[in-house]
Amino acid sequence: MRVTVIPGYYTLHLISRRRPTPPAPARPTIEDMITASELTKRYGGKPAKYAVSDLTFTVRPGTVTGFLGPNGAGKSTTMRMILGLDAPTRGTATVGNHAYADHPAPLHEVGALLEARSVHPGRTAHHHLVALALTHGIPRSRVDHVLDLTGLTDVAGRRVKGFSLGMGQRLGIAAALLGDPATVILDEPVNGLDPEGVLWIRNLLKSLAAEGRTVFVSSHLMSEMAVTAEHLIIIGRGRLLADTTVDTFVRESGAGTIKVVTPEAGLLTQLLAAPPVDVTSSTPGILEISGTDAEHIGRTAAAHGIPLFELTPHAASLEEAFMDLTRDSLEYAAHLEPA
């Protein structure tokens, strides 16, 4: 089920905004793309360990790209290399065709939420953001704006020491949005958030993408990505496993069954059951539909005045498909890539 996005609700047009305000997805331009090319990171120690191996992908503007992989797959390492915090052993990562460090206003180019704590606990939230803003000449009004946007205005004067995990996460997001960035990179942003916060992030990411920004967000949860992202880059043990769309992944993994509860099961079956759509039913009034998406089912039902009591994509089986894919990286790699 899709989450409603209120266009412009989270619009962040304060400083010299170069993107247009309309929420229509901008056409992908090389300017705002993230590209990784044969990106490799080896950590020393015995034996030496490849955290990331030969990773090549692009992340396009105007859509949310999920960066998916089990814990330890190399997601954080990849993001740190994109941001120039870690130097690649081999390969390159660029944002808008340049190394991150080569941009004259890096925070305006990329806003990042890192996985690891990145705040001095003795400083207040407000002072933390001001310190970052000062490096780029970002006005104080923008600091107030991102505090407001992340719901931190009331605690802005408190030292970060006393923040809950969720508040810390919100502060990280405030920092990421500070420079009104063309690209947003968020490493496991929903970690530690309550359900309300998770929903908030989901909507925020979608509205950022709708404004034409490049949104690259990591998670180890397929179910989370399935409802947030349109595009997926899946890695396991540092290697690319799939570079595909959520829809394709769902279809190819066979996980795309949607449960529909309706009193008009017979009529809905008639309307929908034609290749590639497959409708089965084991209990009267409950249909298991595959080969299409919830939107199509919902619209079809609405067009014919069929009431729906339930319309549920099967997230659990999606999670299983993801686990199958990542269980043994190499075996399945050729199978699902590229979409």
């Binding site: 010299s16 004259p104 206003a105 990145s118 780029h136 006005p139």
Partner: protein
Amino acid sequence: MTTLALTPARILRSEWHKLWTVRSTWIMLTAATVFTIGVGIAISASYEQDRGEVSGVDPVQFLLFGTQFSQIILAVVAVLSIAGEYGTGMVRSTMVAVPRRLPVLWSKAGVVTAVVFTATLATFLVTFTAGQLFLDGTDKELSLTDPGVLGTLVGSTAGLTSLALIGLGLGALLRSVPGGITAFIGGVTVLPEVLRMFPYDVMDSAAKYFPGRAAEGLMTLHDSSDYAATGPALLALTLWTTAILGTAGLLLKRRDV
């Protein structure tokens, strides 16, 4: 309309802001100042010329006796300004904002220089003036206008500022607050004393050019064979500071954050 861009001046302002928005800076600077002034007044007030053991001590060094401890506090402020960022993870935010990294180190050095120099010079002037109130008629009586006095106070300030910058460099190299403080105390105050214990003249001479001893020597009004002369001492401190900060910069650029 603002043009968003990194500039050296903006990074400097950011570092200035960061220094003053953690409590430890205020606490430590106050502690260093109060301690230096307090010790200066205390030993001046209780000074009796004929009591022997301190009468051979240089009159300016005598007044600034509190710096033996304050110099460590000032270095800790500098260590904290960088190693504290590694300890808390703040450094990741900092380096994402300034991905070229080096301007951060230079800005921190600039801020430390400005703050430590100003605070120390003011502290020394107050300590000198207050201490002298008790030293009328003793062999340690001096006036700010006496030849060499002001120069010695400024030189002493420069010495302490260099030590703080060395603390900054050590903090950046070791990326750890305890590590930086230990290295500072060990390298700057203990090591030269250890060198002097060897029965070789060359080691004793070399020890004079170690940061702690060079800075100590700058606090003397009169030349003494215990210390290097002012010029060479300043040069030695400059070289130490440059070498340590330079190495820190090199590694900052090379290592993963």
